[in-house]
């Protein structure tokens, strides 16, 4: 990594902020940051974006999801594939062919 070049810093920024760079690389990186305010601004905002991205919420499962899938599993275990298919269809949870009867 060329410590005097901004493009080299920006290219390796993820490795630095993820703690995956070597000690020598980190030293060179922070030396560059101490003399380059443009890279400092980029890094500060890059880190802010990364932190906020980690706060994006995951989805909630529908209330009956486990119930329906559990019945499908039970039918599967019994080898009643036709029954599984009709159960899924009756629950409105199957569109097209189910995986287990695909060729």
């Amino acid at each position: 990594m060329d410590f005097m070049r901004c493009d080299a810093m920006v290219r390796r920024l993820s490795e630095i902020v993820d703690g995956e760079a070597s000690c020598g690389e980190r030293f060179g990186f922070y030396f560059h940051m101490s003399i380059c305010w443009k890279c400092r601004r980029y890094m500060r905002q890059f880190k802010q974006m990364r932190t906020l991205t980690g706060q994006v919420q995951v989805e909630e499962l529908p209330d009956d999801f486990a119930e329906v899938m559990s019945r499908v599993l039970q039918s599967e275990a019994e080898g009643a594939t036709q029954h599984s298919e009709s159960l899924l269809r009756s629950e409105g949870m199957l569109i097209g062919q189910p995986v287990w009867i695909k060729k």
């Binding site: 493009d7 290219r11 905002q45 991205t53 599967e76």
Partner: protein, 206 residues
């Protein structure tokens, strides 16, 4: 019947339970990983109903192929890998799979000598302020949807599901070098979208 004790279940016990077709094991997998798998599928295919369909397909496939799980990666990585394949198949079937161009998003931002051509724009916001942070969070959530599929996916795995590089490699079946390069390009692409969005008047973010 295992109930309260499921909190203490190890991965090995869980896999064993699935292999034996135990209902408690299935429910535990859904409780532990279901919301994450659904969120992952939804952001990949872009639609809640389609995402539920993808997750259902994946769960059926998981139950069919549980014997193939060798424990070389975590069960979470394995579940995400299956949802990844199902979601990509779904996107390809519906001609919606978009792959990022093979170049760095910031390649043209530097002079020949490697210095910035233009100063990176200041976002002019203070993420310490709750109001600014909330607006930016909503904006980032929307902008992630605009990323090409492979960028969107790796951003989710790392930032939202907090996977390390090795786990990402297990899910996407790529090398660690490839994963690192792709993750950085994805972050840069998201940064670029955010930079453009923040140049718009503040009112548009209200």
């Amino acid at each position: 019947m295992v109930d309260a004790g499921t909190l203490m279940l190890t991965e090995e016990t869980l896999v064993e339970g699935l292999r034996e077709g135990k209902n408690w094991a299935f429910r535990e997998v859904l409780n532990r990983y279901g919301p994450a798998l659904l969120g992952y599928a939804k952001r990949l295919v872009g639609d809640r109903d389609e995402a539920e369909e993808v997750v259902q397909d994946a769960i059926v496939a998981i139950l069919h192929h549980i014997e193939r799980f060798e424990g070389r990666c975590s069960i979470r990585s394995w579940l995400f890998r299956i949802v990844h394949h199902k979601a990509i198949d779904h996107l390809r079937r519906t001609s919606r799979f978009v792959k990022a161009p093979d170049q760095e998003p910031y390649a043209e931002s530097f002079e020949t000598g490697g210095h910035w051509k233009d100063t990176p724009a200041s976002w002019g916001r203070n993420p310490e302020s709750q109001a600014d942070a909330r607006k930016m969070l909503e904006l980032i959530r929307d902008l992630i949807e605009q990323l090409p599929n492979n960028y969107k996916e790796i951003i989710m795995l790392r930032e939202i599901y907090q996977m390390d590089t090795q786990e990402i490699c297990n899910v996407l079946e790529v090398s660690s070098v490839h994963a690192r390069v792709m993750l950085h390009r994805a972050r840069q692409a998201l940064y670029k979208l955010l930079e453009q969005a923040l140049q718009e008047p503040v009112e548009s973010l209200m």
